[in-house]
Each structure stands twice: as structure tokens, then as C-alpha cells.
Amino acid sequence: MGKGFCALFKKDCRMLASGKFFLMAIGFLALYTAYVNLGYIRFMQMEPYHVYLYDPAETQASKSALVQTVPSMEAMDAALLADANGVGLDASAGDVRVVLYRGAEHIDRHRADYALSLLEPLTIHTPEVLGTNTPEQKARKEITCELLFFELAAVGFLGIAAVLFKEKGMGVIRVHAILPLQKDLFLLSKLVVFLLSDLVFAALLTLLNMGFADGAAVLPAVLIQTAILSLMMALVGLFCALLLKDFRQFTLAYLVIAIFAATPVFLSANTSVKFDWIHYHPFYHVYMGLKNAYFGTAISPVYFAGAVGTIMLLFLAVRLAFHREIGKEG
């Protein structure tokens, strides 16, 4: 059995290598790493509101150093136009008047009061810090988690389908039906190849984007979640590949995952926009499992039990579909 499995495993590895699958994984690893380190971290910055003061008579002597003085109203308009989140204070007519671009109602009130408070000596109270992550660490964890999830969900699914369709076309399933090998080994070798490649991809992506120290600390938990997601997506891919007739149909499934399944999950899990129905979305729980692993949050044993149960059910469904396919071929 061990020998048979090794032979199948080697054959699957060779197929993936000839299909440039590993090359693509390395290419995307480089692309994602460049995006995180050169692009994303730079975009994810939001400075406090800038405050611009027009005070020709210099009536505001006790203003804070955070206030920038402008020489004219035109200069203030230009500054606000370039920095629409900024707040202008016009002290030219005696009373101070606030000028700002309209945004959300609550935020506008806060911006106005904050700007006015800077005209008086301001005591800055350092807030108590309860967490352990810096803004950059959080941004790195979030984006690495998103990229890994997308890559595993879409590529594992599509990759395994491509392999199986190729084998279907070459008549490998037909040959396998008469080989003196356990039938499940055919499925197991594929799952193991994709699982191993996904684990290596996840480890490299995590270490390269989060740094060695931070990455190594969360790696065991991340690899467990990667294994769960990889097995689930590979099994779904196998199931669809056994049921669908044409590989072209997979392009649709790929787009459905990319646009409809992933977007609401990312929005609910990463921002304060929460959909009421998101708990019924199966991807949400898997994504939250991965995210909790990155942020070191405890994961409920119920989730693990559910994940193992789902993987076993999916495996049984795939096994059934595979035996049906072998029967058809025979």
C-alpha cells in the first residue's frame, strides 16, 4: 500500500510540476510579498486631522503646536481642498468660525470640537493600551490572512480540478479501476500533494510578510487552519471535477468564489460593516478561524469539531462520486 501511494504521489507531483503549478505558486508568493511590503503597508496610514488657522490679528496666542497658520483665506481654501479631512479655523472676524468639508455627521462634530480645542492649552492624556499589536503588525496580519485565504480557496479548488480533468481526459481513472491498488489512494495522494504545497505556501507567506519572530509565533496555529481550509477546498474541487463535464464550467465557480463568496466575508470580518446573515456563510467561519490564528485569539473546540466533521463528510461524498465514476468507466 505504501509503495502504491508513493508511486501515485510522485506521479501527481510530476503532473503539477509539468503544469507549472509550483512555478505559479512561487510567482504569486513573490507578487503578494512585494504588494504587502511595498504597497499595502504604505497605503494603510491615516494621520490625525490637520488644523489650519487664519488669524491675521494674531488673537489666538495660546494655540497648540499642532495648528498650522495660513496667510490668507485663499490659502486655507487651497489647503482644505487638498486635505478634505482637515479643519479650517477662521479667526479674522473676532469669533472663531470653523470651516470644513462635509462628511459623516458625528465625525464632523468631532473634527470641529477637536480643532477648537487646539486653540487652548491642551492636556494630552495618554490612553491605556490593552493590546499587543502595533498598527503595522495588525495591517500585516490582516493582509497576509486575506491573501492566504483567497489563494487557498481559489487556487486549491481550481488546481485540483485541472489535475483531475487532465487525468479524466487521459483515461487514468479507467486504468486505475483495474489496478491492484486501493481505490482511495488515488484521492489521498492528490489531497496530500495539495495539502503539502499549501502548507509550504502558507509558511513562506506568513514568514515573509510578518517577519520571522512574529510569523514563527503564530505559525503552528496558522498551519492547522491552512490544513483545514486546504483539505476542504481540495475536496470540494475534487467533488465538482467528478460531477461536472467540462472544465470551462470551473471558470464560473472560480469567479463566484472570488466575487460573491469572498467579498462579504472580508467586509464583515475586517471592518465594522457587519451583515446580519454572515453567520450562515460557511466561508465566514473558516476565514475567522484563520484570522483568529493570526491574531492569537482562542478558537472554540466546536469549530474544530465542525471542521473535522465537514472534511469527513466531504471525503465520503468525493469517495462516492469517485466510485460512481470508476463504475461508469468500467
Binding site: G19, R102, R109, P127, E128, K166, F247, A269, V273, F295
Partner: protein
């Protein structure tokens, strides 16, 4: 003409393929009704307090700046502050004043708000008395939608590329490609037959998507139509290239994924960063860039840019078509 009829017959039989072309239309409908999703909470301040700790007046004062949620225990409040998807600022009583708590992973703007909140509270009597002049600015979500909608259009056009690539690869796998080699057909006839299906469905899908998303004048609609037709044609042609150079399904998937990523990433990054100079010229080598820029310009009412982009797309069409014919003719000659 008969060949074209067979191509259409093969597509119409494949219901999943038709659904692929319908997908961008569905997304466009979803985006059109996106107003119903409340996105206003994205940049807001959120406060977390302990139940019954702060006076009702203090809570009302806090609510001037953002929603306030009361938590039963300190542990629950700490968990809410540390939750990575939100920027909750914890507020607790400190004698006559307030003290704040943050997670430490927030953006600077939220940390600054937490640091200055006690000072704002101390001068709450003075707050809200100054005159405020508000200036109108375009809605942030509208500008985001301005990027989303052209992106969906690009995806719609890209469908033609995916379809053509997959069509040719499956013909190769089934051996139909060998039969095509000996059919009495010129390379141009073959290209035309292959390109028309992806092009036709890609542009139809894009036109419907554009009709859902934009309300354009007749003149602008003409330009939009030109942009859609030209970019769908280029996308369908690129699909032929992918089909030609892919040895199998897996390699085809890899190429499609790379092309799709470049097609979508280049224009969106250019729009977000605001590329100019020689880099902008280089970006125009990716056909989706002039298409995206043209659609954005049309929705902003800038006819000049849209016309320039239509011209760039026309050059793309001619160049890609000529290149494909050249490669096909050369290969055929070598084969003979």
C-alpha cells in the same frame, strides 16, 4: 458563416458558459443597489463603556461623536477594544474626568481621538457654540463605486478572453485543433470565427452592465460603446493568444490567472496612486488601462480623455490582430 453558426451552437449548449457572461451583470445589479448597505460606519468613532458606570449625560455627550455600546464586564469591554476588525475606544470614568483605552493597533487618527477625548470632555460646555461653515464634497462611497463599476466592466470584457482561451484549449485537448489545421480555412477566417463568440458575448455582457450602472447622454453613450467594443475585441484576441500558447488546461489556468490579475490590478492601482509621466505610458500597454481610464473619464464627463483612450484601444486592436495573424501564418508555413 457556417463555421460561426457551429461556434454559436456550441456556446448556447453550454449553460455554464452563458452564466459566466451573466455574472458581471449580476454584480452590476448588486453594486447598483449597494446604497442599501450601510458603509458610513467605516470611518466613525465607536465607543465602548461599562454598564451603569458613566452618567446618562456623559453617554449622551459621547453619542455626539459616535455610537456608544455598553458592556456588562471589564473583560467584555477589553475584548471589544482588542477586536481587530473595529476601532472601539474604551471610555471609563476618572473622577470628574474621563480616561480612555485603546488596543494600540489602531490608525493614528483613532489613537489621537482617544488621547484628546478627556480634554474635549473637560471643555464640553464650550463645545458646539462656534459657527460652522460646511463645504460640499463628493460622497466617499460614490468615488469608491466610481472605481468598482469600471472594474466590473473590465471583468465583463475579460469574460470573452477566458471563454476564448478555454474554448481553444479544450479543442486542443479533444484533438479538434488538428482537424482545424487541415480544414480549408485561412488563418483570418479561423481567427474571426474564434474571436467573434467571446467578443460578442463579452461586449453584450459589458453593454448591459454599462446600461445598469450609467445614465449617459447619447454622445457619451456612443463613446462608451466604442470603448466597450474595442476593449472586448482586444480581450477576446488575448484569449486566442492564451489558447495558442497553453499546452494544457493547467497551464491555461495559470496564464488566465496572471492575465486577469494584470488586467484588473494595473488600472485600479493607477487610479488609486495616480500614475503620471513615462510610467503612465507604460501602463497603457495593458489594454484594460485605457479602457478603465476612458470609462472613468466618461463618467466624470471628460470627453477628451475618453477619445484619447478610444484611440489607444483602436491601436491595441490592430496591433494584437496583426501579431496573431503573423504568428499563425508563420506557424502554418513552418508546419508545411
Amino acid at each position: 458563416m457556417r463555421g460561426l453558426k457551429y461556434q454559436m451552437k456550441s456556446v448556447l449548449r453550454d449553460k455554464f458558459c452563458l452564466m459566466t457572461f451573466l455574472l458581471p451583470i449580476l454584480v452590476a445589479v448588486a453594486l447598483h443597489f449597494m446604497g442599501s448597505i450601510d458603509m458610513s460606519s467605516l470611518g466613525e468613532l465607536h465607543f465602548g463603556v461599562l454598564e451603569n458606570e458613566l452618567s446618562p449625560q456623559t453617554v449622551t455627550w459621547l453619542e455626539r461623536y459616535g455610537p456608544v455600546t455598553a458592556y456588562g464586564t471589564q473583560e467584555e469591554l477589553t475584548a471589544a477594544i482588542n477586536e481587530p476588525s473595529t476601532n472601539v475606544i474604551g471610555v471609563r470614568a476618572d473622577g470628574d474626568s474621563l480616561k480612555t483605552a485603546v488596543s494600540g493597533d489602531e490608525l493614528d487618527i483613532f489613537r489621537q481621538a482617544a488621547a484628546t477625548l478627556p480634554a474635549l470632555y473637560e471643555r464640553r460646555e464650550a463645545g458646539g457654540q462656534a459657527k460652522i461653515r460646511t463645504l460640499e464634497r463628493p460622497d466617499i462611497m460614490e468615488s469608491l463605486q466610481g472605481i468598482f463599476i469600471p472594474a466590473v466592466l473590465i471583468v465583463a470584457m475579460f469574460m470573452g478572453c477566458t471563454f476564448n482561451a478555454m474554448n481553444i484549449i479544450s479543442e486542443k485537448e479533444d484533438g479538434v485543433a488538428f482537424v482545424n489545421e487541415i480544414l480549408p480555412m485561412t488563418p483570418s477566417q479561423y481567427i474571426l470565427q474564434k474571436v467573434v463568440v467571446g467578443f460578442l458575448f463579452g461586449s453584450l455582457s459589458s453593454i448591459v452592465t454599462a446600461c445598469i450602472c450609467f445614465r449617459l447622454s447619447l454622445q457619451n453613450f456612443g463613446l462608451m460603446l466604442a470603448l466597450i467594443v474595442l476593449s472586448s475585441f482586444v480581450a477576446a484576441l488575448i484569449g486566442l493568444f492564451i489558447g495558442k500558447f497553453s499546452e494544457g488546461l493547467m497551464v491555461g489556468v495559470v496564464y488566465i490567472k496572471i492575465v486577469m490579475l494584470v488586467f484588473i490590478a494595473v488600472p485600479i492601482l493607477c487610479a488609486l496612486i495616480g500614475v503620471s509621466g513615462p510610467l503612465a505610458v507604460i501602463c497603457n500597454f495593458v489594454p484594460s488601462q485605457p479602457a478603465f481610464e476612458g470609462i472613468m473619464a466618461l463618467s466624470a464627463g471628460s470627453m477628451g480623455t475618453a477619445m484619447k483612450d478610444t484611440g489607444i484601444l483602436a491601436i491595441h486592436c490592430i496591433a494584437w490582430f496583426a501579431l496573431y495573424v503573423l504568428i499563425s501564418t508563420r506557424r502554418k508555413k513552418l508546419a508545411v
